[in-house]
């Protein structure tokens, strides 16, 4: 299809979608309106189960089964990336050279690393109380580790980041979520139902029943998943090179 033709098809399709969207929006409830039936029910359910962060309650209690599906997408995407970015036969691994880092960068990166790591763990641990949770905190933890790459070099990062361990951690996080779900089933109610543990005192760390546990499982999975993902991409950028030498040797 020529570029001109493609633009015409795009304009027609885009216009039709725009008309449909505007027609649909005209019949949506008004922006900022006071009627949110699902929201109100979610808030009262969260309060009944002593979970201060209603969004965590929605994710890990009311919609815990959907979160399992989402976690599985995450797991599958990481698996796919790992498979796609393997080292192939015509590539070789080059040990990364030590790099020179400007002293201020090194200093601030190394100061920020423990702070960022602690912040991430805090965000995971307080997911049922304050904004945040396993998904957000997991990403903070994983990126905190990579400050070492900025502050020192790739070899230093590889020392604290044995990828195999994090791959196991990723699977363990996913498995922990499933095990907690099955525990709910064995405990006498339904899969992933939040009936296993006492709901605790409102607005304390141990409140919310199974929410903090599911939250921690997700935090572990996300942190490990992001580390593994970044490791695969960094390996491609830093370590893996096309093996020109042997390829030419074969031809001649």
């Amino acid at each position: 299809m020529s570029r001109r033709m493609r633009m015409w098809v795009l304009a027609t399709g885009g216009l039709a979608v725009a008309v449909l969207l505007v027609a649909g929006y005209a019949r949506l409830p008004h922006f900022g309106g006071a009627v949110h039936p699902y929201g109100e029910r979610a808030v009262s359910a969260a309060l009944a189960r002593h979970t201060a962060n209603v969004i965590s309650s929605v994710n890990f209690d009311l919609r815990a089964f959907d979160t399992l599906g989402e976690e599985t997408i995450l797991f599958g995407a990481v698996l796919g990336t790992v498979v796609l970015l393997r080292q192939t036969r015509d590539e070789r691994e080059v040990p990364p050279a030590p790099a020179e880092v400007a002293p201020p960068v090194r200093r601030y990166a190394l100061i920020m690393l423990p702070v960022a790591l602690l912040t991430g763990l805090y965000v995971v641990a307080h997911g049922q109380l304050s904004p945040g949770g396993g998904f957000q905190g997991g990403v903070v933890v994983a990126t905190a580790l990579h400050l070492l790459y900025i502050g020192a070099d790739y070899r230093a990062l590889e020392k604290i980041r044995p990828v195999g361990t994090y791959e196991v951690g990723d699977a363990a996080g996913e498995a922990a979520y499933l095990v907690l779900g099955v525990a709910g089933l064995l405990g006498g109610s339904a899969f992933l139902a939040n009936t296993l543990l006492p709901y605790g005192t409102f607005n304390t760390l141990a409140s919310g029943g199974t929410v903090p546990l599911l939250n921690a499982a997700v935090g572990m999975e996300v942190a490990c998943a992001v580390v593994v993902l970044l490791a695969r991409f960094l390996d491609q950028a830093v370590e893996i090179e096309e093996d020109n030498g042997s390829a030419m040797g074969k031809e001649s």
Partner: protein, 115 residues
């Protein structure tokens, strides 16, 4: 004025589609897909907004003292962000493989069959 946030969401989606269709670089195309996806965040949060509402988190708000925005759509947006980020990573991994195998990342030059 009431529908402006919804219209913004639709506009972001269509801009992303335009970028996808006219893209000359696969990394750019993946970026455009992310733009399309971010329109859903705007739409979800716009649907859940309530005038004068605050975050549905009770760590420092007494229950019942203030109106709250809808937590359900916020949870959906969170889901959306996570899935979007990992799927973007998967797509970028695919782009790297395409670049290695075909030596080009221009979608227009990728029409030939190989193998």
């Amino acid at each position: 004025m009431n529908t402006v946030p919804y219209l913004v969401a639709g506009w972001i989606f269509l801009v992303g589609c335009y970028g996808l269709a006219t893209s000359r670089h696969l990394v750019h195309a993946v970026g455009c897909l992310t733009v399309c996806q971010s329109s859903t965040y705007v739409l979800l949060l716009a649907v859940g907004y309530r005038d004068g509402g605050t975050a549905p988190v009770f760590s420092d708000v007494t229950p019942g003292s203030r109106p709250l925005v809808d937590p359900v759509v916020q949870a959906l947006a969170l889901t959306d962000v996570v899935v979007g980020a990992t799927v973007t990573a998967l797509l970028l991994a695919l782009v790297m493989q395409v670049a290695k195998r075909h030596g080009t990342v221009n979608p227009d030059e990728l029409s030939e069959l190989r193998g």
